[in-house]
Structures are given as structure tokens and as C-alpha cells.
């Protein structure tokens, strides 16, 4: 096989893997949208916040130390202990559940029945708020996640495949982290699909998204459903934050991964959990292949916009995304 062709395949495979990482972020969006019709812009910031919290706890950092020092003139930084990873993860999950509760109690409970765009705005406000709180709590340095997750190309795969092509082919490159991410994503998606399709809470969640008022009137507690869903989304955010954070260090830019998830969402459909995965894969492959084949002709750095354009092309044919719920238009 020619090296070029094999490289094309390599690009596709890596595109699939990148797509999985996008999908991980998109999953959080889908959950919340499905359950409340809220387009949660804060999902990216939640990923950042969760990852920051995890690192902060593991390293035994004093939360809000900068603020406290500034007000009281103290000099606090670290407690002087470190926390084992599993415990830290558990604590972080608890914090994310608390966050879900607070979001519901102080914000979205008061916005029941509002138009989607208002809810969307509120999540942008929330994103600001959380970003500020995250910075105040843990500082704005770049942090390293010490979970010891595997990283780097898998030598085994590389060596096993090196002989496929000619001299110009060096074997397939597959990042161990990506392989891990794929496994995690598969488990998450399976669990979430089962939850939303086959449980009572899942059904209630979809009912709430359709009509807040009616959901209230049949006795569905919006509070409960929303806290539940935001908690799950918080957990998904933690997973996404950790996996992305391993690549780049935990830092502000993590919050921007939301922008990579949006075309995925759009293509897969805002309401479909499997759609998030399939959308992620298509976007991942599409943008990588485009960059590989066309990028050199137009100067590269096409991925950001091409992902959106690709999604847009799909949407023109299926306005609700590949797996999204059909938009009901009746009079």
C-alpha cells in the first residue's frame, strides 16, 4: 500500500480519536439540553472548574488563598498535605453536585418557562461567574494533573504496522490517551443512553425539555430533575476536563473546548446522546482530512471553521442534526 494512502488512514483514525474527545464535551451539553432545553454554554467552564478543583484538592491547595491573603494580609498557599487521587475525585464529584444544586436553587428555578435564549444567556452569565470563582479559588497558573494517565504514541501499534507501507511509512500513530478516552466515552454513552431512554427519570427529563409548565402540572419536580442532570453533566465535565487537561495542562483555555464541541452537537443533534458520539467522529475525521488534503492548498489552520461548515452542510439536509428530535412544525 502506498504511504500516502496509509497516512490518509492514519489521519482518519486520529480524526476519530479527536472526535471522541470533542464528543466528551458535547455529551454534557446534550444532557442538559435534553432535560431542560437549556443550551448550556457553561459546559466548557465547568470542565475547567472541575479539573482545577481536582488538581487543587490533590495538591492540598488552600481555596481562595489569594483573596484571603489580600483581605487579611495572611500568607496562605498550601495546607501541606496531598490527597490521593480517588478521594480527590470523590470530593470533586461532591462539589460538582453541590454546584448543580446551587445553580438550580439560585438561578434556573427562577427562570422556569422562559424562552430558550434567556436561559442560554443565563448560562453565559454562569460561565463568567464560574470562571471568576475558579480563578479566585485556585489561581490562574497552569496546573498539571497528576493522575498518571498514559500518554504518547503507542509504540506497539507503531511497530506492528510499520511494515505495511514502504520506506516512507513509519507505522500508525495512536495516542494512548486517545485510546483511553475512547474507552471512557463508550462507557459513558452506553450508560447515559440507558438512563435517558429506559428509566422513569429519563422520560421525565425529556418531558421537562418539551414543556416546563406541563411537566410541573403532572408533578415532575423540575428541581430534582435539573439537579440530577446538572450533576451528571458536572461529572461528564470532570471527565472531559481531566482528559483535555492532561494534554495541555489545566488552564483557562480548557473553557474554550466548548467551541470545539458546538459543531459536534449541531451535527449530531442537540438532543441525542449517540448523536454526540457520531457527530464527534464525523467532525473529527472531516476536519482532519480537510486539513490533510485541502489545508496545504489554502494555508492551513482550517479546522476551526471547517468543523462548523461541515456541520452546516449536514444541517441544510437535516435541520435537526443527524439524530436530533425532529422539529415539530404544525399549525
Amino acid at each position: 500500500m502506498s504511504a500516502d494512502f496509509l497516512y490518509g488512514i492514519e489521519v482518519v483514525i486520529n480524526g476519530l480519536m479527536a472526535g471522541v474527545l470533542y464528543a466528551l464535551v458535547a455529551l454534557g451539553f446534550v444532557l442538559i439540553f435534553k432535560a431542560s432545553g437549556i443550551f448550556n454554554y457553561a459546559q466548557g467552564v465547568m470542565a475547567l472548574f472541575a479539573a482545577l478543583t481536582l488538581v487543587g484538592i490533590m495538591e492540598g491547595q488552600v481555596p481562595f488563598s489569594h483573596l484571603i491573603n489580600a483581605i487579611f494580609g495572611t500568607d496562605l498557599h498550601y495546607f501541606g498535605w496531598t490527597v490521593p487521587a480517588l478521594l480527590a475525585i470523590a470530593v470533586t464529584v461532591v462539589i460538582m453536585i453541590f454546584f448543580a444544586w446551587a445553580v438550580q436553587k439560585f438561578v434556573f428555578r427562577h427562570l422556569v418557562g422562559q424562552e430558550p435564549i434567556i436561559l442560554f444567556m443565563a448560562t453565559i452569565g454562569l460561565a463568567f461567574f464560574l470562571e471568576g470563582v475558579g480563578d479566585l479559588m485556585w489561581g490562574s497558573d497552569i496546573r498539571t494533573i497528576g493522575l498518571g494517565l498514559p500518554q504518547g504514541g503507542s509504540l506497539w501499534i507503531e511497530e506492528a504496522t510499520a511494515s505495511l507501507g514502504g520506506d516512507d511509512f513509519y507505522g500508525f500513530f495512536l495516542d494512548k490517551l486517545d485510546i483511553l478516552a475512547t474507552a471512557v466515552a463508550a462507557v459513558l454513552v452506553a450508560a447515559l443512553v440507558a438512563f435517558s431512554q429506559y428509566t422513569k427519570q429519563g422520560r421525565a427529563m425529556r418531558a421537562v425539555a418539551d414543556d416546563h409548565q406541563a411537566a410541573l402540572s403532572v408533578g415532575i419536580s423540575l428541581d430534582f430533575i435539573w439537579i440530577l442532570v446538572w450533576s451528571i453533566a458536572g461529572f461528564v465535565a470532570l471527565v472531559a476536563g481531566v482528559l483535555w487537561g492532561v494534554k495541555s495542562g489545566v488552564q483557562f483555555s480548557l473553557s474554550l473546548i466548548a467551541l470545539k464541541a458546538l459543531p459536534v452537537l449541531m451535527l449530531g443533534g442537540f438532543t441525542s446522546i449517540p448523536g454526540a458520539i457520531v457527530g464527534g467522529l464525523i467532525i473529527g475525521v472531516g476536519e482532519k482530512l480537510f486539513e490533510y488534503l485541502v489545508g496545504p492548498l489554502v494555508g492551513g489552520a482550517t479546522e476551526n471553521w471547517f468543523a462548523y461548515v461541515l456541520a452546516l452542510i449536514f444541517l441544510v439536509f437535516r435541520p435537526q442534526g443527524l439524530f436530533g428530535e425532529k422539529i415539530i412544525e404544525r399549525v
Partner: protein, 358 residues
């Protein structure tokens, strides 16, 4: 009480559909205009012009533009930054290609060019709706920014891809370039804002506005009663982009003077303008102003309080600023989802009923 409509009878339908049906409102409107045109220019200094007034006025134009699209026609767009960039680069190309033509014409032409681009990117709106459309407009945002960054023709092949506004004058007074004085900057923006606001008001109070609003409120029903949805949406995209383009051109030529496209017209800009119209009030010209004022002034005010008054470290203040702005946005939405404009309306309604509570 001054604020009464009793005795303020309308004798013609024309009088009834005027912008400020209540006499007191009308006087206030003229008073504001008079102060803005006749008083402020004499007092404005560099700080006020550059930190507050000029950005406020320019953002108000952009907000009016987006409000037409989102507030009146119901098409949420996150491509505002990209369209502003179109205006800016159109203006730059025009300014450098035709140095002898008046800058005012360039500014208007920038709007026209942006309108065409906006209409083109509005085409998918016929099929794609709601948040799907919002996200789809990001395609415009990212693509346009990439394009302006990528194609050297747009920035006249300068080494870094930055564009700089050369000096241009109106009636012999420089309004762009380094030698522009604060009052001239302010006045040209003010003139554009005023004209844009009047045009926007005229368009939205009549047939065109009703066409847009019918699409916004229920597009299927609108189509069945005879609105051509494609035409309605495309005109909204075009008119909206026209304003946004002018705002972008002013932003570049008059306010910043130099622009790096990714930094100035990035996605943050799109969000910022969207904030403005939502905080200010969707479907309200006044709201566009209120929202722009709020989001231009608030950070400055918070900074003044935090850094200058309390003497806290700047980074702490910046973080707190995020927390406070975020919290305020949520607070406002909870208190009044329809924005500052609605607040104002309710306040007036109460005032009218005063002293009776209902």
C-alpha cells in the same frame, strides 16, 4: 405628576404611531439629543471618548443591528464579530484604494458590503432554526476571521496582517488616524448612531418590522398569512449586517485605528453584542442603547471601585469582576427576562398609575 397621558389625545393615526406617543417622552428625547450634540462635544476628553463614549456609541450601532436580526426577526446570530470584521476590512480597503473619497461614503459602503455578505450567510436560515442556526452562524464567524487573516490582499500585504487606519477628514477635521481629537471621534460616531437609530426605528415600526416580528413569533403562521420567509429573513440579515458592518468600520477606523482581526473581531465580540441586546431588551431600540451602555460602563466602574477606591490587586479585581458581571447577568435575567427596556416600561407603567399601585 408630569408623567401623564391624560389630555394627550391623538387625533390622527400618524400621531398615534409616532415613536414617543407621550409628550413628556418626546421632550426628554429632544433634550437628550441636544445635550449629546451641543454640550458633550465641548467637555469630552480623550479618556471619556476612548474608554466610554465612543465604544458605547459604536456598540450601540452593532447592538441595534443584531437586535433587528435577533430581537425583531428571531434569528439568533453568533456571527456578529465576523460581520464587524467585514465592515472593518471593507472600510480599510476602500480607504486605501480611494483615498480621495469621503470617509463617510466609505463607512456607508462598508455597511452595504457587509449587508451583502450577511445576506449570503443568512441563506441557511431558511432551513435551520433556533440554536442550530445560532451555532451555524459561528461558521461565518470563524470562516471570516480566518479569511481575513489568511488572504494578504485584505490587509494590503502588510507584514503582520494588521490593518491601520490612515488619516481621513470630514469638513477638514480629521476623524481617523492619530491626530483625531476626542470630540471629532465622538461626533462622527454620534451622527452615525443617530441616523442608524432613526432608520432602525422607522424600519421596525412599519410593515418591515411587523414582517420580521411575525417570523420571530411564529414563522409557520407568518408564512401562511402571506409572509415570504426567505425574503423576510434575508432582509433581516442584510439590514442587520448593514448596521453591524458600519459598527465594525467605525470600530476599526475611528475607535481603534488598528486592528488584528482575530483579537478584535473574535467570537468574544459576537457574545458581547448578544449580551448587550439581551440585557438591554430584545426587540427594543432603546434596549440596544441601554445594553451597550451597561456593558461598556460596568467593567470600567467595577475597576474604578475595586482598584482605585479599594486598592485591591488588579487580578483579584478582574476575577471578581467576572464573578460580579456573571452574577449580575443572571440576576437581571431572573428579575426581568425582557431586559432593561422592559424594566423601563414597567417603571413607566407604574408611574402612570401612580399613586395607585395597579
Amino acid at each position: 405628576m408630569l408623567y401623564r397621558e391624560a389630555g394627550d389625545f391623538k387625533t390622527s393615526y400618524a400621531a398615534d404611531s409616532q415613536t414617543f406617543p407621550i409628550a413628556f417622552d418626546r421632550y426628554r428625547y429632544w433634550a437628550v439629543l441636544a445635550v449629546a450634540f451641543l454640550v458633550v462635544p465641548f467637555f469630552v476628553n480623550d479618556y471619556w471618548a476612548n474608554a466610554i463614549l465612543v465604544p458605547f456609541l459604536i456598540y450601540a450601532i452593532a447592538a441595534i443591528g443584531l437586535n433587528i436580526l435577533t430581537g425583531y426577526c428571531g434569528q439568533v446570530s453568533l456571527g456578529t464579530g465576523g460581520f464587524m470584521a467585514v465592515g472593518a476590512f471593507a472600510c480599510y480597503k476602500l480607504m486605501t484604494a480611494f483615498p480621495d473619497v469621503s470617509i463617510v461614503i466609505h463607512l456607508i459602503l462598508s455597511g452595504v458590503i457587509t449587508a451583502a455578505v450577511g445576506a449570503a450567510f443568512g441563506l441557511p436560515s431558511l432551513r435551520i432554526k433556533g440554536f442550530y442556526l445560532a451555532v451555524a452562524t459561528l461558521a461565518a464567524q470563524f470562516f471570516l476571521v480566518w479569511l481575513f487573516n489568511r488572504v494578504p490582499w485584505f490587509y494590503n500585504y502588510s507584514a503582520s496582517g494588521q490593518i491601520n487606519a490612515p488619516e481621513r477628514t470630514v469638513f477638514g477635521v480629521p476623524v481617523t488616524g492619530p491626530n483625531t481629537e476626542a470630540w471629532a471621534q465622538y461626533l462622527i460616531c454620534l451622527v452615525f448612531v443617530t441616523v442608524c437609530a432613526i432608520i432602525a426605528r422607522n424600519l421596525t415600526r412599519g410593515t418591515q418590522g411587523r414582517t420580521w416580528m411575525s417570523i420571530r413569533d411564529m414563522d409557520i403562521a407568518a408564512e401562511i398569512i402571506g409572509v415570504n420567509p426567505l425574503k423576510a429573513k434575508l432582509t433581516a440579515f442584510a439590514v442587520s449586517s448593514f448596521f453591524v458592518g458600519i459598527a465594525g468600520a467605525l470600530f476599526f477606523a475611528v475607535y481603534l485605528g488598528a486592528v488584528e482581526v482575530g483579537e478584535v473581531f473574535g467570537i468574544q465580540k459576537s457574545f458581547l453584542v448578544l449580551f448587550m441586546i439581551i440585557i438591554g431588551g430584545l426587540g427594543s431600540i432603546f434596549g440596544s442603547f441601554a445594553g451597550a451602555a451597561f456593558l461598556v460602563i460596568l467593567p470600567v466602574a467595577l475597576k474604578l471601585v475595586g482598584v482605585d477606591l479599594l486598592g485591591w490587586p488588579t487580578d483579584l479585581v478582574a476575577h471578581l469582576q467576572l464573578v460580579i458581571i456573571g452574577a449580575l447577568i443572571m440576576f437581571f435575567l431572573i428579575k426581568e427576562p425582557h431586559g432593561l427596556a422592559q424594566w423601563w416600561r414597567v417603571a413607566k407603567e407604574k408611574l402612570r398609575l401612580w399613586p395607585f399601585p395597579y
